[in-house]
């Protein structure tokens, strides 16, 4: 089948009790690479992955993966995709090698191919040294990498990973990024993440979702250009920012003030110093677009 890697048209998913998880999601992904789906908790990221991987049916609308309809042609979709679910755990009685091999064999790969692919995946994810240790005795980060190795060992055209780097230390996270980049050379890697830094530095395309709707979509560079402000100044949550002439956003870590230019930043810093308030300054990033578009409440 031909067609884009992923096509979603007016996807709606309403769970029992009326919870609207997806509210008319439409987008198309035409090229291989890494797509980062970002959004706050409950935004609909996991539901979207579930629909695209045929684990749940949309209430309305339609979606295709590689031209296959996720409802009508679900068996075809399952053949050409591979999934790392969110918060998943490997079988704890198995060793990493057994786990990856078991998953590959269960998907119908021949013994020789499964053994070769399992070894390659474990080596890439730095698990080869612990391949014979049962997963129960591995750290949480290693268990997560076992799942990623199992999914990425599959020769798929589209890989779906739902928050794959949660729980990984910064070094392990970068190792996973490298593996994902390798996979994206020949396939589409569609991942959800909470880490804006991850979405910004890893993704070729970023999709922002909030309350079941797509709010922004584009390359990190294009999205960064949409950020009107060049500088962000973070104050303590308790700091009094009343009367300050700047865009102020209440975020979890504290109040965020935005400045469009160096001149505006100088004025702002002068005002804060005069008031005796502590602050930090840095250049804006994709996270700021995310805060303003998705989770920010302007104060």
């Amino acid at each position: 089948m031909g067609g884009p890697y992923i096509l979603a048209e007016g996807l709606v998913k309403i769970y029992p009790k009326g919870v609207v998880a997806l509210d008319g999601v439409s987008f198309s992904i035409e090229q291989k690479g890494i797509v980062g789906l970002v959004g706050p908790n409950g935004a609909g990221k996991t539901t979207l992955i579930k629909v695209l991987t045929t684990l749940t049916r949309p209430t309305k609308g339609r979606a295709e993966v590689l031209g296959y309809d996720v409802v009508r042609d679900y068996e075809e979709v399952r053949k050409c995709t591979s999934l790392v679910p969110q918060d998943a755990s490997p079988e704890l009685y198995l060793t990493p090698y057994e786990h990856v091999y078991w998953y590959l064999r269960s998907r119908g790969l021949a013994k020789g191919d499964a053994a070769k692919l399992a070894r390659e995946a474990l080596e890439k994810l730095d698990l080869w040294e612990v391949r014979n240790r049962v997963c129960a005795k591995l750290s949480g980060g290693m268990r997560q990498r076992v799942l990623i190795a199992s999914a990425l060992a599959v020769p798929a055209e589209v890989y779906f990973l739902d928050e794959p780097t949660v729980g990984l230390d910064p070094i392990a996270r970068r190792e996973v990024w490298k593996v994902l980049r390798d996979a994206a050379e020949s396939s589409l890697v569609f991942l959800t993440t909470h880490y804006m830094e991850e979405a910004e530095s890893l993704s070729d395309l970023v999709v922002m979702i909030n309350k079941g709707r797509i709010v922004e979509m584009g390359s990190p560079q294009d999205l960064l250009r949409e950020v009107k402000y060049r500088y962000r100044v973070v104050l303590d949550k308790s700091a009094d920012a009343s009367g300050i002439r700047a865009r102020v956003v209440d975020a979890e870590g504290g109040k965020i003030l935005y400045a469009e230019s160096e001149g505006e930043l100088s004025e702002l810093i002068g005002e804060l110093v005069k008031r005796g308030l502590g602050f930090t300054v840095r250049a804006t990033s994709l996270e700021d677009l995310f805060i303003v578009k998705v989770s920010g409440r302007e104060g």
């Binding site: 045929t54 684990l55 679910p85 009685y93 078991w102 269960s106 119908g108 199992s150 779906f160």
Partner: protein
């Protein structure tokens, strides 16, 4: 995966210790230990298919590992059957131990062993169908473990599976054959040539009816979350 005893040998001891203590009590008290050992073989076969399989599937569902398999070319029914077959291999080791105890204590007729094995397969098959049905009915996978413990009590420990039917009052002996696990144990008894208080036709009919019923119910279940 049939690896639990290989990687956790203590589970082997804990799984067998209560049934074997019951066997010793029955053997010392009534001299009908052979019925008890046949009951243990049926019980472990039934349990491996029912409670253990349902628990495993529920665990995989809680761990979201099941999602990886559902979203793959492997059909849910293939995954369930493969898991059930893996559980069948788990019972080989305890079955060998029980048969060895049978040979050493009450004696065993080698000609009866294939029939005993056949009745174990029947119990495993019926248990598997029951387990898949029970798993599918429990919307909350976290309840599977407590439900399995309750059903284990009701279907294995309370009725005369591991202890002889003859211990019950006469009027309850026939009724006990209406419990699926007891019916399967009585079938094993008849096939092994061990006399039983319940007519063979009644226990065979009950076992066949339950197996057909559980199979039909299991086929209506889905492994997927939705």
């Amino acid at each position: 995966m049939a690896l639990s005893y290989m990687k956790e040998p203590l589970a082997f001891v804990s799984d067998l210790i209560i049934p074997l203590v019951m066997f010793m009590v029955v053997q010392l008290g009534t001299g009908r230990g052979v019925e008890s050992l046949l009951g243990i073989l049926v019980a472990i076969s039934w349990s491996s298919g029912s409670f253990a399989l349902a628990r495993k599937l529920a665990t995989y569902r809680v761990w979201r590992l099941l999602d990886m398999f559902v979203a793959s070319p492997l059909k849910p029914i293939e995954f369930a059957v493969a898991s059930a077959l893996a559980h069948l291999t788990i019972i080989v080791a305890p079955a060998v131990v029980v048969v060895a105890i049978m040979a050493l204590t009450v004696g065993v007729n080698p000609a009866a062993l294939p029939f005993v094995a056949a009745s174990m397969l029947l119990a495993w098959f019926a248990g598997t169908a029951f387990g898949l049905y029970a798993y599918g009915k429990l919307a909350d996978p976290l309840r599977v473990s407590s439900a399995a413990n309750l059903l284990n009590l009701l279907l294995i420990l309370l009725p005369p599976v591991i202890y002889p039917v003859s211990i019950l009052p006469r009027e309850l002996q026939l009724a006990s054959a209406l419990v699926p696990t007891v019916a399967l144990k009585l079938v094993a008894q008849h096939l092994a040539g061990v006399p039983a208080e319940v007519p063979p036709l009644l226990s065979a009919a009950a076992a066949a009816a339950y197996t057909a019923l559980f199979t039909a119910l299991a086929l209506r279940q889905r492994l997927t979350v939705e």
